[in-house]
């Protein structure tokens, strides 16, 4: 395979990107394509799976195999693809609405099963594509189209959720820290088992506009100012950081993935069947 540069994975004929000016999706897309190039992923052996949403359109711009699924179900399709052909590298791209709200159940179960998939959630704190309604990660007391007097629910901490469900690799960064983000994505793709990266990202058009941050730089600055590294947080009492975005790697461990265990149990089953046959015939 000739050496792949990051933009060899980009579908340039579809440019310019369909996303709004300043949408963070393009920064995450760049980080992913650079990670692909770093790992020299074989386009024909890689499948990018998406659901529906602004971020769910990312597959339009990626030159590998892609599968555009239905809203909230990217991980269901990705699991099926991986089980059918465990040799494939499977990467699922989901928004916070897609991956963590309507698709929240798929997320925790894919993590629990430890299916060898990399899930990359772009968390822009709302349903961007449909007009900025609140999602499961909208912060309490902030404003969206459907919480005009302040949101009364608390937000999921997706990394802690996925970690608790058993995923062996979990990390969070934000688009301003694009180098760190690219590093996490690279490690996640390398990891055997369910790996999860959350990228905090601006949706200036909806969430930003409703919360006094009409431009992408303002929303990126806001994320940065409200972020704390995991290392710093660990040194401080919880009350000092519980309302902040904790940035860093939460888990990075080894754990036997689903396909490997499936193969082992199938071997046992086959041995038991052939033993039964030879006993009956013997």
């Amino acid at each position: 395979m000739p050496e792949m540069k990051y933009d060899d994975y980009l579908v340039k004929s579809r440019m310019p990107l369909f996303w709004c000016s300043g949408c963070g999706n393009g920064i995450v897309l760049g980080a992913i394509l650079r990670a692909f190039a770093k790992l020299q992923l074989d386009r024909h052996n890689t499948v990018v799976v998406t659901g529906i949403g602004c971020w769910g359109k990312a597959d339009d711009y990626i030159n590998t195999n892609t599968f555009h699924g239905t809203h909230g179900r990217a991980l269901g399709f990705a699991t099926g693809i991986k089980l059918a052909n465990p040799e494939l590298k499977v990467i699922a791209l989901m928004g916070d609405g897609d991956g963590a709200t309507i698709g929240g159940n798929h997320l925790i179960h894919a993590a629990r099963r430890n299916v060898d998939i990399t899930a990359i959630v772009v968390n822009n704190f709302n349903y961007g594509m449909t007009g900025g309604q609140y999602s499961g990660t909208t912060l309490e007391e902030t404003y969206t189209t459907t919480s005009q007097f302040g949101h009364i629910e608390s937000a999921f901490d997706l990394c802690r959720l996925v970690e608790a469900a058993g995923a062996p690799y979990v990390a969070r960064s934000h688009v301003l820290n694009v180098i760190q983000l690219e590093g996490f994505i690279t490690e996640a793709i390398r990891k055997k088992g369910f790996s999860f990266v959350e990228a905090l990202s601006p949706c200036p058009t909806h969430y930003g506009r409703h919360n006094g941050m009409k431009t992408a730089p303002k929303m990126m600055q806001w994320i940065k100012e409200n972020a704390i590294t995991l290392k710093e947080a660990e040194k401080k009492p919880q009350a000092e950081w519980e309302n902040k975005f904790v940035i860093g790697k939460f888990t990075d461990k080894e754990s036997v993935d689903y396909s490997t265990r499936y193969e082992a149990v199938m071997a046992l089953a086959e041995a038991s069947v052939s033993k039964g046959v030879s006993e009956r015939e013997g």
Partner: protein
């Protein structure tokens, strides 16, 4: 000197490059289009390239191959 060029067909004038360049290389036109007015300050850190959401910035670091 490092050379910065902006692909105006892809750029959407979001201002991310101008806001976060550590040495303030860019000014912006009224529609947001960045102009690398103080190119001589550029350290070649590539952050603007990596953070541009629209793949619109090309940077040629002097003595380096084109990126």
């Amino acid at each position: 000197m490092n050379r910065i060029s902006v692909n105006t067909a892809w750029c959407k004038g979001c201002g991310i490059c101008a806001a976060f360049c550590p040495v303030k290389v860019f000014t912006q036109e009224r529609d947001g289009t960045p102009v690398p007015e103080y190119q001589e300050r550029c350290t070649g850190c590539k952050l603007c390239v990596l953070r541009c959401p629209d793949f619109a910035i090309q940077l040629e670091v002097s003595g380096d191959e084109p990126k």
